[in-house]
Symmetry: C2
Subunit: 214 residues, 2 copies
DNA sequence: AAAACAAGCTAACGTTCGCTAGCTTTCAAT
DNA sequence: ATTGAAAGCTAGCGAACGTTAGCTTGTTTT
């Protein structure tokens, strides 16, 4: 029961940014953007088609010219969120070969930055996936497992090399992952900290957590 | 997007335990218990009065003999969750005077154990509070702030004493808090790890994160 | 025995939900 | 000028929602 926004809101952020190039033009994009805000603030179940449409400036029925169902809108948002997260982690890792300390910092930084730069997308991707029927969720869970594997592999390699020392690799990964996840709930640009500054501090925390003493 | 249950469920646990002495006898207690399961698995908005009642073995209307509204049921669950969490943290801290390393371990252990032993209660307390109207949420947020303060004070004291070294105290607290929060989502007794074992490992992680090298 | 109460029931209210059918408007391409 | 697709609209369906009213039944208290 920690690190939530001061009010009873689900997250502190107010921007509905989507990664560049992921939102279609016109009404389709506006529907995605306004759905993102409402799903993040109220949850998928509590956000109605009519709510979304009225923010876009159209009627509820007109939304079905653009998406076949409410679930398709959520699935699209979660897909964008998971793909962006995975892409950032993978790219950061590829650019950080071959030192395992540098790799760890890169992957933690990418993880944290993704959650700080797109907090609404992260909250929806993480907290609303359960609302999707299984056939929608399955390919998204596959992406999630790939992202986990990226971090787990770095930790495993560090342990094999003897530079990381932990009682349990899985517990270390869930701990580091959780730190970054939670950023999406409390981060706001008003805090005076940039995502990069937070990411740097969390990368330090991750290294220390893994037994790196420097 | 880490450390979730393998499926698209919101949490891995299946037990609906409430802390001893917190659930009333009879139907009132059953309503609390079944509401806890449904709120945790599906979210407050997606769980209907009729769902809850049918699991208790009564009709939806009969539920109103015991609670004045659906929101009152949620508020009661969140109150129980927050009070149990705070009580454990405070008691652990009081029993751990005066060494700051011992205090840190105690407070982190209490935090983690509360989330592992009552995962459904923790998920509901943390993820569904936003569904309550503000007048219900305000006193619960006050408890939450007290719990945060307990951990923050320990960290602050350690930093003042020079035994903890971090770039940012607030970031350290959110990181440590987040690690424990997330346990509620993936923990299940089947894993072969006890809450105490996980808590011990996380206490080690927290100490390392704060720059303790031992 | 009578009265009061507790705890359940059926029926229904008004609202909102996701979604569909079918119509109008706009506007670019033929 | 005509056509045809795109994108909006109104109206409404059936279902589910939280909640209320009023009744029955069984137990406890007076």
């Amino acid at each position: 029961m920690f690190s939530a926004p001061a009010s009873h809101r689900r997250l502190a952020a107010v921007g509905t940014d989507l990664p560049p190039g992921t939102a279609p033009d016109g009404s389709r994009g506006q529907i995605l953007s306004e759905s993102l805000r409402l799903f993040a603030e109220q949850g998928y179940g509590a956000a109605s088609i009519r709510d979304i449409a009225s923010r876009v400036g159209i009627k509820g029925a007109s939304l079905y010219s653009h998406y076949p169902s409410k679930a398709h809108v959520l699935a699209e948002l979660v897909r964008i969120g998971h793909e962006e997260h995975f892409r950032r982690m993978r790219d950061a890792l590829l650019a950080a070969q071959p030192d395992v300390h540098v790799q760890l910092a890169a992957v933690v930084r990418a993880h944290v930055c993704a959650h700080a730069e797109y907090p609404m997308l992260a909250v929806v991707s993480n907290s609303e996936l359960h609302a999707l029927p299984e056939e929608f969720a399955a390919p998204l869970l596959a992406i999630r497992r790939q992202s986990e594997m990226l971090m787990l592999d770095v930790i495993q390699r560090g342990v094999n090399l003897g530079v990381f020392k932990v009682p349990d690799i899985q517990l270390a990964m869930t701990a580091i992952g959780a730190m970054g996840l939670r950023v999406a709930h409390w981060y706001t640009p008003d805090s005076g900290k940039t995502p990069e500054q937070i990411a740097d501090t969390y990368a330090l925390f991750a290294a220390r957590l893994l037994g790196v003493t420097a």
